[in-house]
Symmetry: C2
Subunit: 512 residues, 2 copies
């Protein structure tokens, strides 16, 4: 921090200038204090000495004026000088020698390499080689394309926040925030809060046909952390892993960072093509899938594919990671039972989240872990971030146990069903038979496929300028045979506004 200069004649700033002959390079060393500055005097003196020592204007071993002499020169009391000297001694900038006084520490290294003296080769940072890890270099840039940020028609991951029972929720949070016990402040279990895990297990058994006990539930911050923990616990660099083609891009990134070799396996109307996976990589170490409502295409994996996948995992002794991110919402039939519930060999790791049923900033999700792997998963989690925060776990336990959660899902299921129908009808009217809509049986998005000669990414960019948020389909593919289209979220747009939004979509497409 640069000290303020005293206005001439006011004399609030005083200095002590080092005798020139004692200073290296002939630069004068000035210890200056400003009695009107907000910074205390002892701190000003400390900072001035430290800066001169770090900059090597003062040499190792050089003598320091006595506190009395410096105080007199600066025109301040001796106390701040003594305080600053004590601090500089404590930190090892100064040393004292018996009877002879105070010196700059003699063990300080020679001059640091000055930043700007380094020869700057073309392209090299003046700060030298800034090597980062190869694995972090594999992650695509966080560009935050506009269609992720926008709020309004078709934005994916946006919910009907205005229908969330905030009154109930905030009173539960306030209740738990007031009734504080040491157990809710202290370090907690890497698996999460016991009562919350009980509530999740009961919910999953009933609503999702997951076979589990509370001891198998690990509370995490959402699907993404669950994917990460599973990858770390189960997979090593170089392991081959089946991934859906197309897939959720952040699922791919999690496996890439883990050093895995991705084997894209195509998705058709019955879900993941298991036979293709077995042809391409029969011994893959794991398959990462979204069987209830494939992301992004929205198809449901058929019974026969489910049983084929389980059979493969059993015979290849591989793992299946089932990401069941939005299956609470299903419109034409009962929710599809989980793949995990069909598995008799404990090969499935099941992932769910509250980001889609409640709200994303909650940061709560869960893993259901085969019993014999629980200890290792807990060890991985502990090293990653020790344990999840307590308050929201406690509030959500009550929210579930008091019936608010199932009521909220029932209500929003009706609401989203209506919004979805409005979207499907409007697209039928505006686009007619030339459009192909897929994946709307469940969840909060469906896919509008485009003819190959249209470029989805380009159109999405232009649409975002007009406040229409179209997540392009083609970047969800790893391979070159990508399909053009848009992933259209419908959860946050009221049914009455849908026709106008679809009309705007058509006019943007018409001009493409």
């Amino acid at each position: 921090m640069v000290l303020r200069r005293a206005k001439s004649g006011h004399g609030v700033m005083t200095t002590y200038t080092w005798p020139m002959k004692k200073v290296r390079g002939g630069f004068p060393v000035v210890i200056a204090v400003d009695r009107k500055a907000a910074k205390p005097l002892h701190r000003q003196i400390y900072d001035a000495f430290r800066a001169s020592i770090v900059a090597r204007s003062l040499n190792a071993g050089q003598q320091i004026p006595s506190s009395r002499a410096l105080a007199a020169e600066l025109g301040v009391s001796r106390i701040p000088v003594l305080n600053s000297y004590a601090q500089l001694l404590a930190e090892g900038y100064f040393e004292t020698r018996k009877g002879t006084g105070t010196f700059v520490s003699s063990t300080l290294p020679d001059e640091l390499v000055p930043v700007d003296s380094r020869s700057s080769h073309a392209g090299e940072s003046p700060l030298g080689n800034r090597r980062i890890s190869r694995r972090s270099a594999l992650i695509p840039r966080v560009e935050n394309p506009q269609w992720f940020r926008g709020r309004g028609p078709f934005s994916v991951g946006q919910l009907a926040f205005d229908h969330f029972p905030f009154h109930v929720w905030s009173s539960l949070v306030a209740r738990h925030c007031r009734s504080v016990r040491a157990s809710s402040l202290n370090y907690g279990d890497p698996m999460g809060f016991e009562e919350f895990r009980e509530a999740i297990a009961a919910y999953l058994r009933t609503a999702r046909a997951v076979r589990c006990e509370a001891s198998q539930i690990m509370v995490v911050s959402g699907s993404q952390q669950a994917l990460e923990i599973s990858a770390r616990a189960l997979l090593d660099p170089g392991n081959r892993v089946w991934i859906e083609e197309p897939a959720y891009p952040l699922m791919r990134d999690a496996l890439r960072v883990a050093g895995c070799q991705l084997v894209p396996v195509s998705v058709d109307a019955e879900g993941l093509n298991v036979a293709e996976g077995m042809r391409r990589s029969p011994k893959a170490r794991a398959a990462y899938v979204t069987p209830s409502h494939q992301f992004p295409l929205g198809v449901t994996m058929s019974a026969s594919r489910r049983l084929q996948l389980l059979k493969w995992a059993q015979s290849a002794q591989s793992w299946i990671v089932e990401d069941d991110y939005d299956s609470e919402y299903r419109y034409e039939s009962m929710p599809i039972a989980s793949l995990q519930g069909l598995d008799h060999c404990a090969r499935v790791i099941y992932i769910g989240t509250f980001s889609k049923t409640l709200f994303p900033a909650l940061r709560l999700g869960y893993l259901v872990i085969p019993s014999d792997l629980v200890e290792r998963f807990a060890a991985v989690r502990r090293v990653m971030d020790i344990f999840p925060p307590h308050l929201y776990q406690a509030a959500l336990t009550d929210f579930i146990n008091e019936g608010h959660f199932s009521r909220h899902i029932r209500r929003t299921r009706l609401l989203y069903s209506e919004r979805r129908r409005a979207l499907v009808e409007a697209i039928g009217r505006e686009f007619g038979s030339i459009s192909e809509l897929v994946g709307g049986e469940a969840g909060m998005h469906l896919v509008l496929k485009l003819p190959d000669w249209l470029r989805d990414v380009e159109i999405s960019r232009r649409a975002a300028d007009q406040q229409l948020w179209l997540w392009p389909l083609s970047p969800c593919y790893m391979g070159k045979e990508s399909q053009q289209g848009f992933i259209l979220g419908f959860a946050s747009t009221p049914a009455a506004e849908m026709p106008r939004a679809v009309a705007r979509l058509r006019s943007i497409l018409a001009s493409a």
Copy 2:
């Protein structure tokens, strides 16, 4: 789920038994419903069919009775039968063939490998090979030794929770929980909440002499996640990394999971022995250090070691990760300025946490990242868990900006100073000159060194049985030349209770 058996004569349970000759293996297939069960009829029928199909009691391609025939047989209305058939069709267990009726899906795979038919070699799980990743196998078992869990004298990481201003805190949380905006519910920035980052940057500049802007602050869940993110962003498997000897065990684990080769560098009264590190691994890719208050020994790195370390990092083009976990608490002098603040080459990644100043279940900490690395760190974080939860960030922003945070630190510093003095005095009285206490100038723990013939782990186990929580020192060493001792936390024990706790410690040691 097993259907409840009807009491004879009540007739609430009805069954449909498959003609034996049509069933494989001669096992009868029974579709049973219980009209008094809580489970809806359509769900009972669905579950019975699905179970028979998954167990292969029904063959692929086998014909299913018509809904009319099954309803008549079961004595129920046709509606639940139709509903269950629709669901089984939707999920792909059934298929229809035009004009001929409904069949078990013909594409179902052959029988699954039954779990128990697998030959069980000695030691092999009946579930087959349960391969986990090599890197997760490197993490020590989560044993949760008792001294981590206990609350009471000497427990490390325990704070004076009873002095935390809960009233203020919970009203801030409640305020933010009520005043909900979409931005506080939705997906957020991987770096954290902007206003919170501003508050942290301002605090760090003033209180810790960290040179930073808000744009360099990443909000994380605590020091552990910060260590993880830095390791992932900067280090690849096989990279050599300096680690303090002794060190914080979870810091070592984070680097092990990252696949790094640990180079233990001894710590003496001046902190990390930089010359030793340069001898042992001059080209190490990073050094992980706790310069303000070394964990566990509690020494402060001297000015000359700090400058040597920075000079080494500059010339070797390596990174320094500075974990400044508890430096807010310093008793005999001003807080020691951060190492980061001395660095002119942007080689230091700085880590801090609110777990020690507020409470651990808050799960909030931060990284200060060199500007040119911010984008890659954000990409790593996004893949790890997308972004941090919102509510506590918002509440803590107000807590800091309204002055509660600095007031709380001032108060607890006095409190901990008093508790520390009481501990040091009591140990002096009880143990006299035979004891060696180190590291009490700062933080919330100090170290009592033991003579080599005492075994700290064993004594800690026995002490835990008597509700005295002694974290043994020797497991903090990687190498064989470990020192026996105890890490004694003093933050949660009132000064008046300290003499009795120390007397108990002495009697436990006397019996060892």
